[in-house]
């Protein structure tokens, strides 16, 4: 692909991106490995990299082997915590009487998919039928989850405009739960039939309570999440998810790739899946049948490619910051209709002027 070579030649060499792209690690000296690990940490991928290196039984310098061990311990602890948390959620919502759908990271963990390996995330996302949303919220509150303190603008944005409930945090455990009634498709410009995806959800095997999207829809959901995103701090991780999901499902069924594209067209995500898989193939070597993925990447995809590349100080592409700005603009355009776009921009401008403190002090 011409475009791949064009922009790749402008990117700085990155041991992480090279390893992910199948470039092997024989040429890495201990310092290159150290940089790779630092890149992985920056990308939120240390645990997943550790799992991957362990799986492939890669020989590492002793000091980095310790890092891998430590990361695997952390990843295992995280999975334990997620499964325990899911038990708590199940207990709280046991009497709801409708299916409860698990999405994203929590679903990968519950299903023990390859995408769950080393996957750290901050929220558990669940979907319930709209009619039961209020009851679910009430049951969760009884179980100790509280909606956080948001300013009135954000509360209204959540409840009225995007028809969502703000994230709930457990008052004792501090874990966060995102309760939805629909699949969040943060765009009003692309018509996506996410209802169809929900209607074809299936129960999780072995569970009397949890449901999941079917395989194709899981990949589509991850792809839409990546391509409609505002910021790409976790872009590489999201892309790696798509790669792992695709590879796993394709390994179980030869017809999966075709069914995936067919389903994508059915629900309105035909272009999205194509662009997402182009990126996955470029960076991770995802084995997608040639005939399904013809042609050049769109302009937006080329921008996303730069944003998804390593974001580490030493290895990020020179103009990544500019690309970030452009993509931010694109996301707002995608998400909000014009009359709301202006209002939203005005509010956000005033908020950033007042100063926010997203980091913690020691």
């Amino acid at each position: 692909m011409r475009w791949k070579h064009w922009w790749l030649s402008m990117a700085k060499p990155s041991p992480l991106m090279s390893l992910l792209g199948g470039g092997g690690h024989e040429s890495f000296d201990p310092e290159a490995w150290s940089l790779l690990f630092s890149e992985a940490r920056r990308a939120g991928l240390m645990a997943r990299l550790a799992a991957s290196l362990c799986l492939d039984q890669v020989d590492l310098p002793e000091r980095l082997q310790k890092q891998v061990t430590a990361s695997l311990i952390e990843a295992e602890a995280f999975q334990r915590d997620v499964l325990r948390e899911l038990d708590h959620v199940q207990q709280a919502l046991q009497g709801l009487g409708v299916p409860v759908l698990l999405l994203k990271g929590a679903a990968y963990v519950r299903l023990n998919l390859p995408a769950a390996r080393g996957r750290i995330f901050s929220d558990i996302d669940i979907v319930v039928a709209r009619e039961r949303l209020a009851q679910a919220e009430a049951s969760l509150m009884l179980g100790g989850w509280l909606t956080g303190k948001l300013d009135p603008y954000d509360q209204r944005y959540y409840r009225e405009w995007s028809h969502e409930i703000p994230p709930m945090t457990h008052r004792r455990r501090g874990t966060t739960l995102d309760l939805h009634h629909a699949l969040v498709m943060p765009t009003c410009r692309v018509r996506v039939d996410s209802g169809k995806m929900l209607r074809q959800a299936v129960p999780i095997e072995g569970s009397l309570f949890w449901w999941r999207l079917q395989d194709e829809d899981m990949v589509l959901h991850a792809a839409s999440h990546l391509m409609f995103n505002a910021e790409f701090e976790r872009g590489l991780r999201d892309l790696w998810d798509i790669h792992l999901l695709f590879c796993d499902f394709a390994s179980r069924s030869a017809s999966f790739p075709e069914r995936l594209f067919e389903r994508a067209r059915e629900v309105g995500l035909g272009e999205v899946i194509r662009e997402a898989l182009l990126l996955a193939r470029t960076f991770l070597g995802t084995p997608i049948p040639e005939d399904l993925l013809r042609g050049e990447a769109k302009m937006a995809t080329r921008l996303i490619a730069r944003a998804v590349y390593s974001r580490h100080r030493q290895t990020r592409p020179a103009s990544q910051w500019l690309v970030d700005m452009l993509l931010l603009g694109r996301e707002m355009y995608l998400r909000l209709p014009n009359h709301l776009l202006l209002r939203h921009l005005a509010h956000k401008a005033s908020v950033s002027f007042a100063g926010t403190a997203p980091q913690k002090s020691i």
Partner: protein, 304 residues
């Protein structure tokens, strides 16, 4: 091996700028980058005896102390602690940059070295026996550690006990953090001790750091075997009290002060049980540093 004090100022500044500087803290290799002169000066003073490298090499952690924004290099100068390029904390004024480095390093060690059980505890060694001093912040643990370190005890850490899978304590001797009155106490008692610049008005009050002995640094690759767990508490005017603590009780108290006990799961439990079985636990209440030291040396001799 090359130590920080044997580097020229130019060499050091260059290496800190171009990413080729390495600080060796026992088993850990740190890539350190900075262009903040106040930090570099304090760093030279406090880490003079530590082994370093100027030509790059492998590293565990990628740390930078730098200005968070371009304009912050000249106006209302601030410093950020960067870890692999992420900024986990709010920046601080440049005068506090060296304190920020120490706090950030504590955070990094406690957050990522899960091959060890990490307890909030000082670790020292006397006559070949490892001693944990486990106490909540404000109990005088740092002052006591500083005192012991100046009186011939080997310091392994003033904050973090790292217990590996072989049940050994991993040394990471580095500057001891002192707060408020304890700075003066140590200065008075040990006028020749090297204490770094004061960081005034931090969220913990006034903070300064005691440089540890070259011997302690020189032993940073020699683990210690834990023999004693002590729960020290400084109480103004209190007479010395020394009481034994049961192993089970000691375990529960250590869990309270552990960083990654739950992360280690079953292995954490097994390692903790092994620790309390191979040590004796005591609690001491004291107001006199001399009495406390005598008591500890006696405990090591008789029960370690």
């Amino acid at each position: 091996m090359l130590t920080l004090s044997s580097c020229t100022s130019e060499q050091l500044h260059r290496a800190l700028r171009d990413g080729s500087f390495r600080l060796y803290l026992g088993q850990l290799a740190l890539k350190v980058s900075s262009d903040i002169p106040e930090f570099i000066a304090a760093f030279r003073q406090l880490y003079g005896d530590h082994p370093v490298a100027l030509g790059g090499g492998e590293y565990d952690f990628d740390i930078a102390i730098s200005a968070p924004a371009l304009w912050r290099r000249w106006f209302r100068r601030n410093a950020s602690f960067e870890f692999s390029g992420d900024t986990p904390f709010l920046p601080m004024e440049v005068g506090h940059a060296h304190a920020l480095f120490e706090w950030g390093l504590n955070w990094a060690i406690a957050s990522f070295l899960h091959h060890c059980l990490i307890l909030h505890s000082a670790v020292l060694e006397w006559r070949g026996k490892g001693v944990l001093l486990s106490a909540v912040s404000g109990s005088g643990k740092s002052t006591l550690s500083a005192e012991l370190s100046e009186q011939g005890w080997r310091l392994l850490s003033d904050e973090l006990a790292l217990l590996d899978s072989d049940l050994k304590l991993i040394p990471l001797a580095r500057p001891v953090s002192l707060k408020n009155t304890s700075i003066d106490v140590i200065r008075r008692r040990h006028p020749t001790a090297v204490i770094g610049p004061l960081a005034l008005d931090t969220h913990k009050g006034t903070v300064a750091h005691l440089k540890v002995s070259a011997d302690a640094v020189g032993s940073n690759l020699v683990p210690a075997i834990p023999k004693l767990i002590v729960f020290p508490k400084w109480v103004e005017g209190a007479p010395l009290r020394v009481e034994p603590v049961g192993a089970g009780q000691a375990a529960l108290r250590l869990i309270d002060q552990a960083f990654n006990y739950s992360t280690l799961g079953t292995e954490g439990f097994r390692r903790l049980v092994a620790l309390v079985r191979m040590t004796e636990a005591w609690q001491i209440e004291y107001s006199s540093l001399d009495e406390a030291r005598d008591a500890l040396e006696t405990l090591v001799a008789e029960h370690g």
